[in-house]
Structures are given as structure tokens and as C-alpha cells.
């Protein structure tokens, strides 16, 4: 019985769906509020993201006519499941590093690719030229950021000498966080740039550029599926920084002052993301790819070389 109830609790309540969802929505409120203040606006009240989701859930779901309705409707769920699993696995391992299983880091990296994949499937299945264009852009963007992102994460793996989350956390516990090493710093910077692209925030919000292709893959979505997409994005805003903290910044700790320190770490990453998104224009897709495969990948490789020689 325990074998069923605990995983279910982890997945649905804490630290999975409910917890990640609530914190993610709060984070997206912080994002919106700070953005508004930077832009001399007032900004929404704290419950606005939740209210948006609830309102969308009550709206009619319109499915474009055609044979791909299944994919159209399943795509958002796929993304939601992906981000929930990422959050669950990363948190459970942080709470109990001993429960690490073989290849957990690789599993999480694969799961992190699910939300963008969902956007691609949804956009392509929406049978709208703008949706198709958005899906194509998302695909190019994924190709762009996955390479430097993987190199950055595997820099840590080389440094630690293990592919288990538990080992990475223990290594940082005893030898200091990854950010103490030059290779760790380079990899962290690369990972932050790639997260901005993974979250499709400016300057990488090319797939849904509302002024060019009217929100691209989401253009045909309405009602509950759109709510799920929005929720997925909000949850990614929480899950992805937590992943970065776990891999590069010593993980999450909850005893005494460490709790405050953990929250500060997350807020710092969120601030970086929000500031970057408010002080840049959108890149063009070819410029984004050139940037991600050029300087960003070069820095990632440099970090990897440093890790190999032991810095």
C-alpha cells in the first residue's frame, strides 16, 4: 500500500503538482508584478495568475476541425506531466539524497524536454499557419539551446564523477558548491542563458512572438488546454531554477537559516530571469541559434575543458 500512496502523494500534492503549481503561479505573479513596476505600471494583484487559470478552466474548449484532435488535446497534458515529474524527482532527491536512482539526472533532462515538445506537437496539430510557424520556431530553438545546456550540465557530471543527483548533492555538501569552481561558474552562466530559452522568455520568446505570429503554437488553444499550457509555463518558472540550484548551487536545505538561504537562491535566479526579460528586445530565430551555438556553446565547452583539467 505504501508503495502506491507515497509516490501518488509526491506526484499530486507535495512536491509535485499542487505545490509546484501554487509556487509557480506565485512566481509568475512576481514576474508580472516586477515587470509592471519596471514599466511604470501598477501590475496585477497576487492571485491574478490563479484567477486567469480558473477563468480559462471555465471557458469553452474549441478544437479546430480535423483528424488530429487527440494530439491537439493531449499535447498540453504531456507538457504538464513532464514539468510535474521534473519537480517531483528533483525535490524528492533534495529532501532525501539517498533515494537517488541510476541515471536520475538523465531522466530529468529528458523530462525537461517534454514541455517544449508539447508546444511543438500542439502547434503543429492546431492546423494553423501561425501555429505551424510557431512550432517550427520552437523546434529550432530547442535544437539551439539543448546542446549548450547538456554540455553545461555534464560539466558538473565530469567534475563530480557521477551521474547521480545524490552524488552531485553530496559532492557539493563536502567539497563546496559548484560555483566555487571556475568550470562551475561558466557552466552555470550557460545554463541560465539556456533556461531563458527553455522558458521561452524574451529575448528568446520567438516561438510565440505575439506581434509577429500572434502567440504562435497557442493561437488555436482556448479554455482548459490553454489553462494547462499557462500552468505548465508557470510551473517551469519554478521547476527549472530549482533544478539549476540543485545541480550548481548546493541544492535545497530547510533547517533553520538554510530555509531563508534556499528561498533567496531561488529569488535571485528569478530576479535574473525577470531583469533579462525586461531589458532586451526579442531576437530573430536565426540570430538566437547563432548566439546559442556560437558564443554560448563556446563558453560551455571552455567550462567542460576546465572541468576535465580539474579546475
Amino acid at each position: 500500500m505504501e508503495k502506491v500512496i507515497y509516490p501518488l502523494f509526491y506526484f499530486l500534492i507535495f512536491p509535485g503538482f499542487l505545490f509546484t503549481g501554487i509556487v509557480g503561479l506565485l512566481a509568475s505573479w512576481v514576474d508580472r508584478k516586477v515587470t509592471a513596476r519596471v514599466q511604470w505600471r501598477v501590475g496585477p494583484p497576487w492571485y491574478q495568475p490563479l484567477a486567469d487559470i480558473l477563468k480559462l478552466l471555465g471557458k469553452e474548449t474549441i478544437v479546430p476541425a480535423g483528424p488530429r484532435a487527440t494530439f491537439f488535446l493531449l499535447a498540453p497534458v504531456l507538457g504538464l506531466v513532464g514539468v510535474t515529474l521534473v519537480s517531483t524527482v528533483v525535490w524528492v532527491l533534495n529532501l532525501n539524497p539517498g533515494s537517488s536512482f541510476v541515471g536520475d539526472l538523465v531522466v530529468v533532462l529528458y523530462l525537461l524536454a517534454l514541455p517544449p515538445l508539447a508546444v511543438i506537437i500542439g502547434g503543429a496539430a492546431s492546423k494553423n499557419p501561425l501555429g505551424a510557424l510557431g512550432a517550427a520556431r520552437e523546434m529550432k530553438l530547442v535544437l539551439g539551446y539543448e546542446l549548450p545546456f547538456l554540455i553545461a550540465v555534464f560539466t558538473v557530471v565530469v567534475k563530480v564523477g557521477s551521474i547521480l543527483f545524490g552524488d552531485i548533492l553530496n559532492f557539493q555538501e563536502f567539497n563546496g558548491i559548484m560555483l566555487r569552481h571556475p568550470s562551475g561558474i561558466l557552466a552555470f552562466v550557460v545554463a541560465i542563458v539556456c533556461s531563458q530559452a527553455k522558458l521561452t522568455l524574451i529575448p528568446f520568446d520567438i516561438p510565440e512572438a505575439e506581434q509577429e505570429i500572434m502567440s504562435g503554437p497557442y493561437v488555436e488553444y482556448s479554455g482548459a488546454p490553454l489553462a494547462i499550457f499557462k500552468l505548465t509555463r508557470a510551473m517551469m518558472l519554478f521547476a527549472l531554477p530549482v533544478f539549476l540550484i540543485t545541480v550548481f548551487w548546493g541544492g535545497l536545505h530547510f533547517s533553520g537559516w538554510n530555509l531563508l538561504w534556499t528561498i533567496l537562491k531561488y529569488v535571485a535566479l528569478l530576479v535574473v530571469i525577470v531583469v533579462v526579460r525586461n531589458t532586451n528586445p526579442r531576437l530573430r530565430i536565426d540570430q538566437a541559434i547563432r548566439f546559442l551555438w556560437g558564443p554560448v556553446t563556446a563558453v560551455a565547452i571552455l567550462g567542460m575543458i576546465l572541468a576535465v583539467v580539474g579546475l
Binding site: T35, V38, Q39, W40, R41, P129, L130, L133, A136, R137, I202, P203, D205, I206, A209, E210, Q211, E212, I213, M214, N278, T279, N280, P281, R282, L283, R284, I285, D286, Q287
Partner: protein
């Protein structure tokens, strides 16, 4: 694989209804077509049914943003017909209102351009800096938009001497903010990557398509009605025409931002001149419009506005012809957009600062032999019939 991407008639990119059809291969635009006519209001015809004085206010409604350029061109046309010289004070006030309009229009464009490339911070900041200009407008004219300042023979309100120091202070503040904004745009490397070399309109194309205003000046085509055929007080003050040779979107943005600084300079000089002149002498009475014709133009924020009027000596003009700058600038898309990506085309179309409501006009021709299908009278008849039908449908008695 080529397919069609529609932009419009209703689209987040567009403030007004118009319709671009982009033929796209991958991300590249191979052909495009433009359809206007969603916003046609028959202003030229309406002008013939109103008196000369009323027309000043009707013409103001041609456009919400250049809402003083059209009246200036119109009163210039009528004064050309009358061969009338207006008081010096009125000239300065016309220039001040015209330049304030250029300032608010260019700042509005900078904001929108920022929005189009996803830089919403610039959008909000530019519009915030635009707000004090509207406050100045309200104090001078009583309105934030549609100023109702122009009048045949002068202006309708005076600028009071006790207000001038406040306006000068507002201009100093604006000059500082504009300089900051200009630096932020001109020095930003990401903006360079996004705007430089995009949508290049060569000087040759600019001349061939006969583009106007900042669109021409951004392509190295040095024209400005304010200098070339001075009206109001533009020959009485010291200022420069800004010209950039590159022809890309960046050059057009730079032209507009630096023009703002010139506008502020003009306004400051005009305000100082007003301090010297006696108050109250800002209009001469006009009793009658004799038969004849007149042309007038003005440099609107988007380029030259041209008005032609003809009188038979009655209370009404018998012909009023308007040519707005966007009408000239629109076809240049054929030269600047083909071969660019969808992401850039959105920006290039915005870079001429299109204003469609003043551009609207229509003609029905047979595409095969080019024969005109409907003339002016037919269109009026169609229009009246449609109004009748709609009245019946919503049960309004005539």
C-alpha cells in the same frame, strides 16, 4: 513549401484595420500584397458639404495622431487661395503646436517599435515620456488630442506669457529624457543586431517610390517641407534636417529620435520669440473666400501632407483633395520587405510609421482591362443604399 501568412485585417501588430498577405517560404517572405480600404470614411466628399470654417475641424479628424498637420496644410491651402499673410504670433504658435505633435507622434512610434520587437520596457517608457507633452497640449489648446487650434487667418487661442516658463521647463525635462532614450536605443548592441541592415530601402528606391518624411530621410533622401517650402515660423528659427544614409530600420528610428531633439529646439526658440511679441495679435478676420484654388502643405510626423482646395465663391469648397504621407510610403514595402523574414517584415511595415486612416481611398477597376467600374457618383449611391439597408435592419426611421 510556400504558404500564406495573413497579417490583418485585425492583428495585434496593427493599430488600424488593414490587410497584408505574406507569401512565405519557411521564414522568408517571397511576395506580399497590401489591401487597404477597411477604414474609408469619405472625408473629401464630406468636406464639400461643410463650410470653410467647419472644414478645419472635419480635416482634424482625418487622423488622430497627425491631428494638427492636416489642419495646418488645409489653412495653408485656403490662405494660399486668399493670398493672406497671417500675424507673426500666429506663425510661432502654429509651429509650436506642429512640433509638439511631431514629438508626441515620434515618441508614440518609438514605443510601438519597441513593442513590435518585444521590448515592452521601451514601449512603456516612451509612452510615459509622451504624457507631459499631452499635458502641455491641454494647457495650450484645452485638449490632449484634436487640438482645434488652426483657423483660416491665424490660430484660435493665444499662448499666454505667464505660461511660457512652465512650457520651457517641460521642454528642458523632455530634452533630458529624449536624450536618455536616444542613447538607450542607439547604443544597445541587441537592438543593433535586430535593426541594422533590416529592410533596407536604397536612396534610388526611395526616390522611385517617392517616399516622404522620416522614411525618405532615413534612406539619405534629403527632403523636408519645413525647409524646402517654409510655412508657419520654420524659416524664422534655427534647426537642422536629420538625414541618415543607411535606409534600414535603425536609420529610420535614429532619424525620428534625433528629430525629437530638433523639435524641442524649435519649440524653445518659438516660445522665447513669443515672450518678445505683444499678446493678443494671433488672428486676422476672414470674411469671404473668393473663387480660385489653393494648395497647401505641411510636414506631418510621417512626411508631407498635401491639401488642394477649390472655391467658386460660395460657403463651401467645391473640391478638397488630400494626400497623406502613408499613401506614398506604403508601396515601398515591395522594395524593402521581399526577401526578409516574417519577424523582420512585421518590423519593416511598422518602420514607416504607417497611418492607414488617412491613406484610405478606393477605386473599383476591372483587373483584366483596367477599366474603371464605378465612378464617384456610383460609390456615393452604393454608400447611401447601404445606409438605407442598415437603417431598415436596425429599424431607425430616416
Amino acid at each position: 513549401m510556400s504558404y500564406t501568412v495573413p497579417i490583418g485585417p485585425y492583428h495585434p501588430l496593427l493599430e488600424e484595420p488593414e490587410f497584408f498577405t505574406l507569401k512565405v517560404e519557411g521564414e522568408r517572405v517571397v511576395d506580399m500584397d497590401i489591401r487597404i480600404g477597411y477604414n474609408h470614411r469619405g472625408i473629401e466628399r464630406l468636406a464639400q458639404t461643410k463650410t470653410w470654417e467647419q472644414d478645419t475641424f472635419l480635416i482634424e479628424r482625418v487622423c488622430g495622431i497627425c491631428s494638427t498637420s492636416h489642419p495646418i496644410a488645409y489653412v495653408n491651402a485656403v490662405e494660399d487661395l486668399l493670398e493672406l499673410e497671417i500675424p507673426e504670433r500666429a506663425k510661432y504658435i502654429r509651429s509650436i503646436v506642429g512640433e509638439l505633435e511631431r514629438l508626441h507622434s515620434h515618441l508614440l512610434w518609438v514605443g510601438l517599435a519597441g513593442h513590435f520587437i518585444g521590448y515592452n520596457t521601451v514601449f512603456m517608457w516612451a509612452w510615459k515620456y509622451r504624457e507631459p507633452i499631452l499635458d502641455v497640449f491641454e494647457r495650450i489648446t484645452g485638449n490632449r488630442n484634436h487640438y482645434a487650434m488652426m483657423k483660416i487667418g491665424g490660430v484660435r487661442r493665444d499662448i499666454l506669457k505667464e505660461d511660457i516658463p512652465d512650457f520651457l521647463a517641460a521642454m528642458d525635462e523632455l530634452a533630458r529624457q529624449n536624450e536618455m532614450l536616444t542613447k538607450a536605443v542607439i547604443d544597445d548592441p541587441v537592438l543593433h543586431a535586430r535593426l541594422k541592415g533590416v529592410g533596407v530601402l536604397s536612396k534610388k528606391d526611395a526616390i522611385e517610390y517617392a517616399v516622404l518624411g522620416p522614411t525618405a530621410r532615413g534612406s539619405g533622401y534629403d527632403i523636408d517641407v519645413r525647409r524646402d517650402s517654409p510655412y508657419a515660423a520654420y524659416d524664422l528659427v534655427d534647426w537642422n534636417v536629420i538625414v541618415f544614409p543607411e535606409g534600414d530600420v535603425f536609420a529610420k528610428a535614429a532619424v525620428r529620435l534625433l528629430e525629437n531633439a530638433e523639435s524641442i529646439k524649435i519649440i524653445q526658440q518659438c516660445l522665447r520669440c513669443l515672450q518678445e511679441l505683444p499678446e493678443g495679435d494671433f488672428s486676422v478676420p476672414v470674411d469671404q473666400i473668393p473663387p480660385g484654388e489653393g494648395i497647401g502643405h505641411g510636414e506631418a510626423p510621417r512626411g508631407e501632407v498635401f491639401h488642394y482646395v477649390r472655391s467658386d465663391g460660395s460657403n463651401y469648397p467645391i473640391r478638397h483633395k488630400i494626400r497623406a504621407p502613408t499613401f506614398q510610403n506604403l508601396p515601398s514595402f515591395k522594395a524593402s520587405c521581399i526577401g526578409e523574414t516574417v519577424a523582420d517584415v512585421a518590423l519593416i511595415t511598422a518602420s514607416i510609421d504607417p497611418c492607414y486612416c488617412c491613406t484610405e481611398r478606393m477605386i473599383a477597376v476591372d483587373a483584366d482591362n483596367g477599366k474603371k467600374l464605378l465612378d464617384g457618383q456610383d460609390l456615393i449611391r452604393l454608400c447611401q443604399e447601404k445606409t438605407e439597408r442598415m437603417r431598415k435592419r436596425i429599424k431607425v426611421s430616416t
